[in-house]
Protein backbone atom coordinates (compact mmCIF):
# COMPACT_ATOMS: atom_id res chain seq x y z
CA UNK A 1 0.00 0.00 0.00
CA UNK A 2 2.87 2.38 0.79
CA UNK A 3 4.22 1.82 -2.73
CA UNK A 4 0.91 2.93 -4.22
CA UNK A 5 0.85 5.98 -1.94
CA UNK A 6 4.42 6.93 -2.90
CA UNK A 7 3.67 6.54 -6.61
CA UNK A 8 0.53 8.66 -6.22
CA UNK A 9 2.60 11.30 -4.45
CA UNK A 10 5.03 11.32 -7.40
CA UNK A 11 2.16 11.80 -9.85
CA UNK A 12 0.48 14.69 -8.01
CA UNK A 13 3.82 16.38 -7.44
CA UNK A 14 4.78 15.89 -11.09
CA UNK A 15 1.55 17.53 -12.29
CA UNK A 16 2.16 20.47 -9.94
CA UNK A 17 5.85 20.94 -10.61
CA UNK A 18 6.24 20.22 -14.36
CA UNK A 19 5.57 23.71 -15.73
CA UNK A 20 7.56 25.36 -12.97
CA UNK A 21 10.61 23.49 -14.20
CA UNK A 22 13.07 25.91 -15.74
CA UNK A 23 14.66 23.51 -18.21
CA UNK A 24 11.39 23.15 -20.13
CA UNK A 25 12.24 25.15 -23.21
CA UNK A 26 9.22 27.34 -23.81
CA UNK A 27 7.84 30.71 -22.90
CA UNK A 28 4.17 31.45 -22.35
CA UNK A 29 3.32 34.10 -24.93
CA UNK A 30 0.92 37.01 -24.32
CA UNK A 31 -2.02 35.30 -26.06
CA UNK A 32 -1.50 32.10 -24.10
CA UNK A 33 -1.22 34.17 -20.94
CA UNK A 34 -4.52 35.88 -21.65
CA UNK A 35 -6.10 32.45 -22.24
CA UNK A 36 -4.63 31.16 -18.96
CA UNK A 37 -5.84 34.23 -17.06
CA UNK A 38 -9.30 32.63 -17.23
CA UNK A 39 -8.13 29.39 -15.61
CA UNK A 40 -8.84 30.31 -11.97
CA UNK A 41 -12.52 31.30 -12.44
CA UNK A 42 -12.96 28.41 -14.89
CA UNK A 43 -11.61 25.64 -12.64
CA UNK A 44 -13.03 26.95 -9.37
CA UNK A 45 -16.49 27.39 -10.92
CA UNK A 46 -16.28 23.96 -12.52
CA UNK A 47 -15.72 22.60 -9.01
CA UNK A 48 -18.41 24.49 -7.07
CA UNK A 49 -21.35 24.53 -9.50
CA UNK A 50 -21.70 20.70 -9.65
CA UNK A 51 -21.65 20.61 -5.81
CA UNK A 52 -24.75 22.83 -5.92
CA UNK A 53 -26.65 21.18 -8.78
CA UNK A 54 -25.63 17.52 -8.70
CA UNK A 55 -26.72 14.88 -6.23
CA UNK A 56 -26.75 11.09 -6.43
CA UNK A 57 -29.86 11.11 -8.65
CA UNK A 58 -28.45 13.58 -11.16
CA UNK A 59 -29.06 17.27 -11.86
CA UNK A 60 -31.30 18.95 -9.27
CA UNK A 61 -32.91 22.20 -10.47
CA UNK A 62 -35.63 22.14 -7.80
CA UNK A 63 -36.12 25.44 -5.94
CA UNK A 64 -36.46 23.40 -2.72
CA UNK A 65 -32.81 22.35 -3.13
CA UNK A 66 -31.09 24.01 -0.12
CA UNK A 67 -27.76 24.05 -1.98
CA UNK A 68 -29.37 26.27 -4.63
CA UNK A 69 -30.95 28.88 -2.37
CA UNK A 70 -27.83 29.03 -0.16
CA UNK A 71 -25.65 29.43 -3.26
CA UNK A 72 -27.81 32.30 -4.54
CA UNK A 73 -27.52 34.09 -1.19
CA UNK A 74 -23.75 33.46 -1.15
CA UNK A 75 -23.46 34.90 -4.68
CA UNK A 76 -25.37 38.05 -3.67
CA UNK A 77 -23.27 38.53 -0.51
CA UNK A 78 -20.03 37.90 -2.43
CA UNK A 79 -21.07 40.42 -5.09
CA UNK A 80 -22.03 43.08 -2.52
CA UNK A 81 -19.26 42.64 0.07
CA UNK A 82 -16.31 41.00 -1.76
CA UNK A 83 -15.63 39.37 1.62
CA UNK A 84 -14.91 35.66 1.93
CA UNK A 85 -15.88 35.51 5.64
CA UNK A 86 -19.30 37.19 5.19
CA UNK A 87 -20.01 35.08 2.10
CA UNK A 88 -19.15 31.77 3.73
CA UNK A 89 -21.03 32.62 6.94
CA UNK A 90 -24.18 33.77 5.10
CA UNK A 91 -24.13 30.82 2.70
CA UNK A 92 -23.42 28.20 5.36
CA UNK A 93 -25.84 29.79 7.83
CA UNK A 94 -28.77 29.71 5.42
CA UNK A 95 -27.77 26.26 4.24
CA UNK A 96 -27.75 24.82 7.77
CA UNK A 97 -31.16 26.40 8.54
CA UNK A 98 -32.71 24.99 5.34
CA UNK A 99 -31.08 21.58 5.49
Amino acid sequence: MMTTILLMACITFFTRYLFLHRALPFKVGPKMQQFLSFSAPAVLTAIWVPIVFLNEDGINLNWQNPYLSAAIVAIIVAYKTHNIYYTTLAGMGLFLILN
Binding site: R16, V28, F38, A42, L44
Partner: protein, 234 residues
Protein backbone atom coordinates in the same frame (compact mmCIF):
# COMPACT_ATOMS: atom_id res chain seq x y z
CA UNK B 1 4.71 44.83 12.01
CA UNK B 2 7.63 43.53 9.95
CA UNK B 3 6.74 42.83 6.32
CA UNK B 4 7.72 39.14 6.67
CA UNK B 5 5.52 38.59 9.72
CA UNK B 6 2.73 40.54 8.04
CA UNK B 7 2.94 38.36 4.93
CA UNK B 8 2.86 35.18 7.00
CA UNK B 9 -0.15 36.40 8.96
CA UNK B 10 -2.00 37.55 5.84
CA UNK B 11 -1.37 34.25 4.08
CA UNK B 12 -2.69 32.36 7.09
CA UNK B 13 -5.79 34.54 7.47
CA UNK B 14 -6.63 34.52 3.75
CA UNK B 15 -6.45 30.73 3.69
CA UNK B 16 -8.26 30.21 7.01
CA UNK B 17 -11.81 30.04 5.55
CA UNK B 18 -10.64 27.43 3.05
CA UNK B 19 -8.85 25.46 5.76
CA UNK B 20 -12.14 25.34 7.66
CA UNK B 21 -14.22 24.58 4.56
CA UNK B 22 -12.31 21.33 3.95
CA UNK B 23 -12.83 20.00 7.51
CA UNK B 24 -15.48 17.49 6.28
CA UNK B 25 -13.25 16.28 3.44
CA UNK B 26 -10.12 15.96 5.57
CA UNK B 27 -11.95 13.99 8.25
CA UNK B 28 -13.54 11.82 5.55
CA UNK B 29 -10.09 11.09 4.06
CA UNK B 30 -8.92 9.87 7.46
CA UNK B 31 -11.97 7.86 8.49
CA UNK B 32 -12.68 6.33 5.07
CA UNK B 33 -9.12 5.00 4.82
CA UNK B 34 -9.22 3.47 8.31
CA UNK B 35 -12.60 1.86 7.57
CA UNK B 36 -11.12 0.39 4.40
CA UNK B 37 -8.24 -1.30 6.19
CA UNK B 38 -5.47 1.30 5.86
CA UNK B 39 -3.19 1.60 8.88
CA UNK B 40 -3.09 4.95 10.68
CA UNK B 41 0.45 5.43 9.39
CA UNK B 42 -0.52 4.83 5.75
CA UNK B 43 -3.53 7.12 6.05
CA UNK B 44 -1.51 10.00 7.47
CA UNK B 45 1.30 9.37 4.97
CA UNK B 46 -1.20 9.76 2.15
CA UNK B 47 -2.25 13.23 3.33
CA UNK B 48 1.37 14.19 4.06
CA UNK B 49 2.77 13.03 0.71
CA UNK B 50 -0.07 13.07 -1.84
CA UNK B 51 -1.89 16.10 -0.39
CA UNK B 52 -4.73 16.10 -2.94
CA UNK B 53 -8.19 15.62 -1.49
CA UNK B 54 -10.21 14.42 -4.47
CA UNK B 55 -7.43 12.10 -5.68
CA UNK B 56 -7.02 10.66 -2.17
CA UNK B 57 -10.73 9.94 -1.71
CA UNK B 58 -11.05 8.19 -5.06
CA UNK B 59 -7.81 6.23 -4.56
CA UNK B 60 -8.89 5.01 -1.11
CA UNK B 61 -12.05 3.51 -2.61
CA UNK B 62 -10.11 2.00 -5.52
CA UNK B 63 -7.37 0.53 -3.33
CA UNK B 64 -9.98 -0.95 -0.97
CA UNK B 65 -11.60 -2.59 -4.01
CA UNK B 66 -8.31 -4.25 -5.04
CA UNK B 67 -8.17 -2.22 -8.24
CA UNK B 68 -5.01 -2.84 -10.32
CA UNK B 69 -2.17 -0.43 -9.53
CA UNK B 70 -2.07 1.03 -13.04
CA UNK B 71 -5.77 1.94 -12.90
CA UNK B 72 -5.26 3.71 -9.57
CA UNK B 73 -2.28 5.64 -10.89
CA UNK B 74 -4.04 6.55 -14.13
CA UNK B 75 -7.08 7.80 -12.22
CA UNK B 76 -4.79 9.84 -9.94
CA UNK B 77 -3.20 11.35 -13.02
CA UNK B 78 -6.58 12.27 -14.57
CA UNK B 79 -7.80 13.91 -11.35
CA UNK B 80 -4.48 15.75 -10.91
CA UNK B 81 -4.18 16.89 -14.51
CA UNK B 82 -5.81 20.24 -13.72
CA UNK B 83 -2.56 21.13 -11.92
CA UNK B 84 -0.86 21.39 -15.33
CA UNK B 85 -3.09 24.41 -15.96
CA UNK B 86 -2.07 25.97 -12.65
CA UNK B 87 1.62 25.46 -13.38
CA UNK B 88 1.22 26.97 -16.84
CA UNK B 89 -0.74 29.92 -15.48
CA UNK B 90 1.82 30.86 -12.81
CA UNK B 91 4.93 29.84 -14.78
CA UNK B 92 5.90 33.34 -15.91
CA UNK B 93 5.54 34.63 -12.34
CA UNK B 94 7.55 31.91 -10.58
CA UNK B 95 10.08 30.75 -13.17
CA UNK B 96 12.74 33.36 -12.33
CA UNK B 97 12.77 32.31 -8.68
CA UNK B 98 15.43 29.86 -7.50
CA UNK B 99 14.63 26.19 -7.00
CA UNK B 100 14.37 26.56 -3.21
CA UNK B 101 11.25 28.71 -3.75
CA UNK B 102 9.76 26.95 -6.79
CA UNK B 103 9.90 23.49 -5.21
CA UNK B 104 7.84 24.27 -2.08
CA UNK B 105 5.44 26.48 -4.08
CA UNK B 106 4.70 23.66 -6.51
CA UNK B 107 4.29 21.16 -3.65
CA UNK B 108 1.44 23.21 -2.15
CA UNK B 109 -0.05 24.42 -5.46
CA UNK B 110 -3.57 23.19 -4.70
CA UNK B 111 -6.89 24.49 -6.08
CA UNK B 112 -7.06 26.63 -2.96
CA UNK B 113 -3.62 28.23 -3.29
CA UNK B 114 -4.13 28.74 -7.02
CA UNK B 115 -7.24 30.76 -6.16
CA UNK B 116 -4.90 33.28 -4.49
CA UNK B 117 -2.38 33.34 -7.34
CA UNK B 118 -3.99 35.64 -9.89
CA UNK B 119 -2.50 38.91 -8.64
CA UNK B 120 -0.21 40.43 -11.24
CA UNK B 121 2.67 40.49 -8.79
CA UNK B 122 1.94 37.13 -7.14
CA UNK B 123 5.15 35.12 -6.48
CA UNK B 124 7.26 37.90 -7.94
CA UNK B 125 8.59 39.47 -4.73
CA UNK B 126 9.98 37.83 -1.63
CA UNK B 127 7.07 39.09 0.47
CA UNK B 128 4.57 37.63 -1.98
CA UNK B 129 6.43 34.30 -2.03
CA UNK B 130 6.33 34.19 1.75
CA UNK B 131 2.64 35.06 1.62
CA UNK B 132 1.97 32.20 -0.82
CA UNK B 133 3.99 29.68 1.16
CA UNK B 134 2.27 30.72 4.39
CA UNK B 135 -1.14 30.27 2.75
CA UNK B 136 -0.12 27.03 1.04
CA UNK B 137 1.50 25.39 4.05
CA UNK B 138 -1.19 26.49 6.50
CA UNK B 139 -3.60 24.64 4.21
CA UNK B 140 -1.22 21.66 4.22
CA UNK B 141 -1.04 21.59 8.01
CA UNK B 142 -4.81 22.01 8.35
CA UNK B 143 -5.44 19.20 5.85
CA UNK B 144 -3.20 16.88 7.86
CA UNK B 145 -4.79 17.82 11.19
CA UNK B 146 -8.28 17.07 9.77
CA UNK B 147 -6.97 13.75 8.45
CA UNK B 148 -5.57 12.93 11.88
CA UNK B 149 -8.93 13.75 13.49
CA UNK B 150 -10.55 11.46 10.92
CA UNK B 151 -8.10 8.67 11.82
CA UNK B 152 -8.66 9.02 15.57
CA UNK B 153 -12.36 9.84 15.72
CA UNK B 154 -13.55 8.79 12.29
CA UNK B 155 -15.66 5.84 13.28
CA UNK B 156 -17.33 7.85 16.06
CA UNK B 157 -18.24 10.82 13.88
CA UNK B 158 -21.05 10.84 11.31
CA UNK B 159 -20.01 11.41 7.68
CA UNK B 160 -19.95 15.21 7.63
CA UNK B 161 -20.07 15.34 3.84
CA UNK B 162 -23.44 13.54 3.91
CA UNK B 163 -24.71 16.22 6.29
CA UNK B 164 -24.33 18.62 3.40
CA UNK B 165 -21.20 20.21 4.79
CA UNK B 166 -19.70 19.82 1.34
CA UNK B 167 -21.55 23.08 0.68
CA UNK B 168 -18.82 24.90 2.65
CA UNK B 169 -16.34 24.46 -0.20
CA UNK B 170 -18.94 25.76 -2.68
CA UNK B 171 -19.53 28.84 -0.50
CA UNK B 172 -15.81 29.66 -0.24
CA UNK B 173 -15.27 29.19 -3.97
CA UNK B 174 -18.27 31.46 -4.68
CA UNK B 175 -16.59 34.07 -2.49
CA UNK B 176 -13.37 33.71 -4.50
CA UNK B 177 -14.95 33.71 -7.97
CA UNK B 178 -17.85 36.20 -7.89
CA UNK B 179 -15.87 39.37 -7.01
CA UNK B 180 -13.56 38.60 -9.94
CA UNK B 181 -16.37 38.89 -12.51
CA UNK B 182 -15.58 42.32 -13.84
CA UNK B 183 -16.44 42.12 -17.53
CA UNK B 184 -18.35 40.12 -20.10
CA UNK B 185 -15.44 37.73 -20.73
CA UNK B 186 -15.14 36.63 -17.10
CA UNK B 187 -18.94 36.32 -16.85
CA UNK B 188 -18.98 34.06 -19.93
CA UNK B 189 -16.12 31.99 -18.45
CA UNK B 190 -18.00 31.39 -15.21
CA UNK B 191 -21.30 30.51 -16.91
CA UNK B 192 -19.72 28.12 -19.43
CA UNK B 193 -17.64 26.48 -16.67
CA UNK B 194 -20.66 25.95 -14.42
CA UNK B 195 -23.00 24.63 -17.10
CA UNK B 196 -20.48 22.38 -18.85
CA UNK B 197 -19.02 20.98 -15.61
CA UNK B 198 -22.49 20.09 -14.31
CA UNK B 199 -23.51 18.45 -17.59
CA UNK B 200 -20.23 16.58 -18.15
CA UNK B 201 -19.97 15.38 -14.55
CA UNK B 202 -23.58 14.15 -14.59
CA UNK B 203 -22.75 11.90 -17.55
CA UNK B 204 -19.92 10.31 -15.55
CA UNK B 205 -17.27 11.50 -18.01
CA UNK B 206 -13.94 11.18 -16.17
CA UNK B 207 -12.24 14.21 -17.69
CA UNK B 208 -15.17 16.51 -16.80
CA UNK B 209 -13.13 18.97 -14.74
CA UNK B 210 -10.29 19.63 -17.15
CA UNK B 211 -12.57 19.62 -20.22
CA UNK B 212 -15.13 22.03 -18.79
CA UNK B 213 -12.33 24.31 -17.55
CA UNK B 214 -10.66 24.39 -20.98
CA UNK B 215 -14.02 24.99 -22.68
CA UNK B 216 -14.78 27.88 -20.31
CA UNK B 217 -11.31 29.38 -20.78
CA UNK B 218 -11.71 29.22 -24.57
CA UNK B 219 -15.14 30.90 -24.28
CA UNK B 220 -13.77 33.64 -22.02
CA UNK B 221 -10.73 34.20 -24.21
CA UNK B 222 -12.82 34.44 -27.41
CA UNK B 223 -15.22 36.86 -25.74
CA UNK B 224 -12.31 39.03 -24.63
CA UNK B 225 -10.85 39.06 -28.17
CA UNK B 226 -14.22 39.86 -29.74
CA UNK B 227 -15.06 42.70 -27.34
CA UNK B 228 -11.54 44.13 -27.81
CA UNK B 229 -12.02 44.07 -31.60
CA UNK B 230 -15.41 45.79 -31.34
CA UNK B 231 -13.93 48.56 -29.23
CA UNK B 232 -11.07 48.99 -31.68
CA UNK B 233 -13.39 49.42 -34.69
CA UNK B 234 -15.97 52.10 -33.80
Amino acid sequence: MQPVKKAILKGFLDMLPLCLAVVPWGILCGSLAIQNGFSAFETQAMSLLVFAGSAQLVAIELMAGNTPLLTILFTTFIISSRHFLYGLAVRHKVIDQPMRWRLPVSFVLTDELFAFSHHRKAYRTKTRLIYALSAGFSFYIAWNIWTLIGIVAGTMLPDLTNLGLDFAIAATFIALVIPGIKNLASLVTVIVAGVSATLLKSTGFELWLVCSALLAMAAGYSTARLTAKKEATP
